[in-house]
């Protein structure tokens, strides 16, 4: 099981790098969806040895459906409405973003070796969670389009989800559902806002919003 969890973490890192290196919005959205599904499987794998409970399976399914089906559906719709295919000129270019993504992993590995963390079952879980949060932050600050920034937010949320899963062994179902609902509402509202921006200004370049100040 440990090898499988490690492989899943490596997959998450590779998907993060793909998100950083790809300019097509549709493929970015799909990447984040695959990452959501992969990370949604994580609680099942973590609890495999203790045996699965119905509550756990329900939460995992809810998380997979939200992250893997609902988010991409909402975002792909927003992308179609705004009629943009690709991020044209990010603030940090793609090769540099990929290398920065690798750097965040190095940084989180170093950080984890210094932090007084409780003994985690897998050594890669916490570093990858931290680097996922940092990658989400990087996407938010380095991309111009509103949809890319929503993707950054979702990736950050994915990282926080893994971190919570690792540090707090047993999250009450109510809290977890609440978090999921929050994330869903946030993405939903952001996609509506994106739609409004594109209708009002014929673009969804968040950088140009600066010039609206009176």
């Amino acid at each position: 099981m440990n090898e499988l969890i490690d492989a899943l973490m490596v997959l998450a890192v590779l998907l993060n790098l793909r998100l950083l290196g790809s300019s097509r919005l549709a493929s970015c959205i799909r990447t984040v969806a695959i990452e959501g599904i992969a990370l949604g499987l994580l609680p099942l794998l973590l609890a495999w040895n203790q045996g699965l409970s119905g509550r756990l399976v329900f939460l995992a399914v809810a998380s997979i459906v939200t992250r893997g089906v609902v988010f991409p559906w909402v975002l792909l719709r927003a992308q179609r409405n705004a009629n943009v295919q690709r991020e044209v000129q990010p603030f940090i270019n793609y090769p540099l973003s990929i290398l920065t993504g690798v750097l965040t992993l190095v940084l989180s590995l170093w950080l984890c070796s210094r932090l007084p963390l409780p003994q985690a079952p897998q050594m890669l879980l916490i570093p990858v969670a931290m680097s996922t949060i940092l990658v989400g932050l990087l996407v938010i600050v380095s991309r111009r389009l509103a949809i890319s920034q929503v993707l950054g937010y979702i990736v950050m949320e994915n990282g926080i989800y893994v971190l919570g899963l690792t540090l707090v062994q047993d999250i009450p179902a109510l809290v977890e559902l609440g978090v999921l609902l929050d994330a869903f509402v946030a993405v939903f509202v952001m996609s509506i806002v994106t739609h409004q921006i594109s209708r009002e200004f014929d673009h969804i370049d968040a950088d140009q919003m600066d010039s609206l100040k009176g």
Binding site: E3, D6, A7, V10, V13, L14, L17, G21, Y94, P95, I98, L99, G101, V102, L105, V106, L109, M123, L124
Partner: protein
């Protein structure tokens, strides 16, 4: 003794056949009959019987380029083992010698191209140097990850030490190192996602453009050198992917050769299903290879 002879002679004899297999695969997938499997041998034979033409503006550098290039690549082929046995030339750290022998061959190709004074060749030389500057870290970091994984600093030890056990214990790292090596293999041999070997006189080519002014035996040396280079890089990739077994020497050699030709078929398939990347996207592909190698080495270093 026979093992060493086989290890030296087999790449020299079979290397041009690899290109024939690639071309045959592409022809079959495109529904053509294609050129004969032994076409490159015929080409080399023909070129060796021609005279060479040298421009008056060139110096000795232009004449030395193909010879030094071929010599460096042939030396490199002696470092790489075949069939997970001992290579004819092996010592701790020979992987660095290998990387820089290939670098030396590239350097002489580049300055021979610059020596002609042609703007077109200078353009190709500049591209070659730009892309290989990105491919080399990916190659060396990938080899470093494999070296750390097997606790060995010579190619013989590394490629012989990757067993089923290593694959079972650290599959993600090995897979990422292999992916990086595959990208480097395609880039260094001027295959399709990076460069298109079929096009001549096109503004986007990289490797072909540097050797346009070479003729006769010099051009034969260059063609033969690049086919041996493909064999050398391919042998590293294949033996890194195929786990070492405890079978007899003949069986291991047969598996390794089968792997080489499977790699040639794979390259043919890649070239048939993909188009060449736009020039400005190539660095991104190579940076992805560097990222793969970096991740592999980070994860390998994390292992206790």
């Amino acid at each position: 003794m026979t093992q060493i002879l086989v290890n030296i002679l087999l790449p020299l004899i079979l290397a041009p056949l690899l290109l024939g297999v690639i071309n045959r695969t592409k022809a079959v997938l495109a529904g053509r009959t294609g050129q004969p499997l032994l076409q490159l041998y015929f080409d080399l034979w023909k070129l060796l019987h021609k005279g060479a033409v040298y421009s008056r503006t060139t110096s000795w550098v232009f004449r030395a380029g193909p010879m030094v290039g071929l010599a460096a690549i042939l030396t490199a082929s002696a470092i790489v083992p075949l069939g997970e046995t001992s290579a004819p030339l092996h010592f701790a750290g020979d992987l660095i010698l290998l990387a820089y022998l290939l670098g030396l061959a590239r350097f002489f190709t580049v300055i021979a191209a610059l020596d002609t004074g042609s703007a077109f060749e200078g353009m190709g030389a500049s591209r070659e140097v730009t892309f290989s500057a990105l491919a080399e870290p990916a190659f060396l970091l990938g080899l470093a990850a494999l070296a750390r994984l097997t606790d060995n600093l010579s190619l013989t030890g590394i490629l012989g030490g990757l067993t089923w056990h290593t694959w079972a214990a650290s599959a993600p790292e090995l897979a990422m190192a292999a992916a990086a090596m595959l990208i480097v293999f395609l880039a260094e041999n001027a295959r399709i996602p990076v460069d298109d070997p079929n096009t001549h006189l096109e503004l986007t080519m990289i490797h072909e453009v540097m050797v346009l002014d070479h003729s006769g035996p010099d051009f034969a040396f260059i063609l033969y050198g690049s086919s041996v280079k493909m064999w050398v890089l391919g042998a590293i990739l294949v033996q890194a992917v195929l786990p070492a077994s405890s079978a007899g020497y003949e069986a291991r050699l047969a598996i390794c050769l089968a792997g080489m030709f499977a790699l040639a078929v794979l390259v043919g398939v890649i070239e048939s299903v993909m188009a060449r990347l736009r020039m400005i996207r190539v660095p991104q592909l190579l940076v992805a290879a560097i990222a793969f190698s970096l991740l592999a080495i980070i994860l390998v270093l994390r292992r206790p």
